[in-house]
């Protein structure tokens, strides 16, 4: 088991290292003459050269790669190099701030969005998926399948606009102000306002995922329900509810966990569309704004952040799946 664990971990680490090195080369292409961007506007060529020397931009690329990964010269007092905590993801010349600080400032919004949506969609998907499997072929199964199908086929940006139109615009036209149109209130400040501000974005993200996961829960439940241990459980008098939610769901959970991890990671890397529509000031919105105004360091920093989040989540999900595998007990 330890051997399997370590091979999974090693593979994730090597993937991460390759991603970091690839992003270094993207950085090299994207940062056209960072010294000139950092120097004062009407700087002479000499002072630009001085900045370039201070940043050691004249060094060969392998030394630069070393600086990038481990320890580079400070840019305006901010340490560079990824091997710190938190890792330095670059320096935004536009905002005159380290990218890590910018991302960390926005991370709570994106994290609240992702985790809240995950809880909502998993709860609904599991209950409706189990219901669809329990009453397979009945009316409720068809109705749930229909909604799952519609949810799956509506792109996020469309469902987001529709949700904000009906649940914000039309409701407030009627004088009902349940949901604000945009903005974010930190959880620590006011939990109720936090949930109110995030309710519509959560719904937007959840709709597409519920469709996907409900179908998956249903399929893996149907797969498991035919097994002998379910018949045994029923024969020894386990209540029907426990048969479904305890016995069957436990065995059917693995593919759901795996895909759930992937989707969560994708959202953490920036639920760009949702954040844009609902005016949430998260990581994704920062990335799109930076891309549109040509602030490459922020875009690349976000890419590294999202890729690392993806790899870490995948690894965690893999480890949990292996830990849950009965073959690995003892």
């Amino acid at each position: 088991m330890v051997k399997q664990f370590s091979s999974v971990v090693l593979r994730s680490i090597s993937t991460l290292v390759i991603v970091l090195i690839l992003s270094f080369f993207i950085t090299r292409i994207a940062y056209r003459n960072p010294a000139a961007m950092l120097a004062p506007r009407n700087a002479t060529q000499e002072s630009i050269d001085a900045v370039a020397r201070a940043l050691r931009l004249d060094d060969p690329w392998y030394l630069q790669l070393w600086y990038y990964l481990f320890r580079g010269p400070d840019i305006q007092g901010a340490p560079m190099g990824l091997m710190h905590w938190p890792p330095a993801l670059g320096y935004s010349f536009r905002k005159q701030a380290p990218v890590t600080d910018l991302i960390l400032a926005k991370a709570p919004v994106t994290l609240s969005l992702a985790i809240g949506a995950l809880v909502i969609w998993m709860t609904i998907a599991i209950f409706s998926g189990v219901a669809a499997a329990r009453w397979q072929g009945r009316l409720i199964d068809h109705v749930l399948a229909f909604f799952a199908y519609v949810g799956l086929s509506v792109p996020t940006f469309l469902s987001g606009i529709l949700i904000s139109y009906f649940l914000f615009f039309q409701l407030s036209n009627q004088g009902i102000h349940w949901f604000p149109s945009s903005g974010y209130v930190p959880l620590s400040e006011d939990p109720l306002q936090w949930a109110r501000h995030l309710a519509l974005p959560w719904a937007t993200l959840a709709i597409a995922e519920i469709g996907l996961f409900q179908r998956m829960v249903r399929a893996s439940m149907l797969d498991v329900l035919g097994h002998d241990f379910i018949r045994t459980a029923r024969a020894k008098g386990v209540p029907e509810g426990r048969v479904y939610f305890s016995h069957a769901l436990k065995s059917a959970l693995n593919p759901i966990l795996t895909l759930g991890g992937l989707e969560l990671a994708a959202i953490m890397g920036g639920a760009i569309v949702t954040e844009t529509i609902f005016g949430l000031d998260g990581v994704g919105r920062m990335a799109i704004a930076a891309a549109l105004e040509g602030d490459f360091p922020v875009v690349i920093g976000t890419t590294i952040f999202a890729a690392s989040a993806f790899i870490t989540t995948t690894l965690a999900v893999d480890l949990v799946a292996q830990w849950r595998d009965p073959a690995n007990r003892n």
Binding site: R11, S14, T15, L16, I18, V19, L22, I26, I29, A30, R32, Y149, V150, L152, S153, V154, P155, T156, F157, L158, I161, L162, Y165, F169, R218, A219, L222, D223, A266, G269, G270, I272, V273, T276, I277, G284, A287, I288, A291, L292, G294, F296, V299, I300, T302, T303, A306, A307, F310, I311, T314
Partner: protein
């Protein structure tokens, strides 16, 4: 007299048995999801093809602005009329004509991107699965890396790179969007093909070919490829709607197909940004419904194809 009587036997001589292609089509057509999907996809294709005709009949080009006839005194777009069947957008452009041209753009981006991804991904997956060992380890690692990059953010940085020093795109945006979408979907095809080949390479069929001394190229071409292609083609149909949505998403965010060229994504973005859809819902409903219909059509079609062609995935 007798020699003029034709033998009745000639009448019941069986016609040539139907070709495998016809049989397959019949089998597919029996599946309800295939029929529904094919009809919807057919409508979308017709819409894309009819764009120039409708544009000619109405006399409205997709990028032409009709400030005089399509906007009222307040400068707001008019609703559906005989001249503008789906109304106009904020710049006085015909929404119907733009939606139909949007279908062309969606397909012209989605189909090549998915096809390129399929060809490259399948080739890489074949090599990876067939020559197991070190090649396989390296390629699997590459697939892992490709899948770790987040789609939208990485697409943003690649599209940002395309903007030269002057802010003008270096390569036409459509080409870049196709490339980026292909870049992000080849890995799924590679993973699929690799898995299929890993199963096949130890099958008795391949063993037999090896025993008679077939070269690896011959084994791949005659034994493996024909066996994995149906599944790969079905996956093409699964991936296509996802890629059409990917293009729409990039255009919605303002980094894909740029206005004034019509794309469902940038039309929806314009409707949302200007909030004009609250006045004139067709402005949003045109491209929105078109996109939804396209995705539903291809999803249904691919689900049906999978039910029929993929024996490993029995309908649950």
């Amino acid at each position: 007299m007798a020699d003029t009587i034709h033998s009745p036997v000639a009448l019941i001589v069986p016609r040539a048995s139907p070709s495998p292609g016809i049989l397959l089509l019949k089998r597919l057509w029996r599946e309800r999801a295939v029929r529904t999907g094919a009809v919807i996809v057919g409508i979308v294709l017709l819409a894309a093809l009819s764009a120039p005709v409708v544009s000619h009949l109405l006399g409205h080009g997709p990028m032409e602005q009709f400030e005089g006839t399509a906007l009222d005194e307040m400068g707001l777009p008019i609703g559906p009329t005989l001249e503008f069947p789906l109304g106009a957008d904020g710049n006085g452009r015909d929404v119907l004509v733009r939606t139909l041209y949007g279908a062309q753009v969606s397909l012209l981006v989605g189909v090549p991107a998915t096809t390129i991804a399929m060809i490259i991904g399948t080739a890489i997956g074949l090599v990876s699965g067939f020559f197991a060992g070190r090649t396989d380890r390296i390629i699997s690692q590459a697939i892992d890396v490709a899948l770790s990059f987040p789609f939208v953010v990485t697409a943003l940085s690649l599209l940002a790179l395309n903007r030269g020093g002057t802010g003008q795109p270096i390569v036409p945006p459509m080409v870049v969007v196709i490339t980026i979408i292909a870049l992000f979907s080849w890995a799924y095809f590679a993973r699929l093909a690799r898995g299929l080949v890993l199963e096949l390479r130890t099958s008795p069929m391949v063993e037999a070919s090896r025993t008679i001394g077939a070269s690896w190229a011959r084994i791949i071409w005659f034994d493996i490829l024909p066996n994995i292609l149906p599944t790969v083609f079905v996956y093409w149909a699964v991936q296509l709607p996802a890629n059409i949505v990917a293009e729409a998403t990039l255009s919605f965010l303002g980094v894909g197909i740029q206005a004034p060229m019509p794309s469902w994504g940038n039309m929806i973005a314009e409707a949302q940004r200007t909030s004009l859809y609250q006045e004139q819902p067709w402005f949003l409903a045109g491209p929105g419904l078109a996109l939804f219909l396209t995705v539903v059509g291809f999803n249904t079609l691919s689900a049906g194809l999978r039910n029929v062609l993929d024996p490993n995935r029995r309908r649950a």
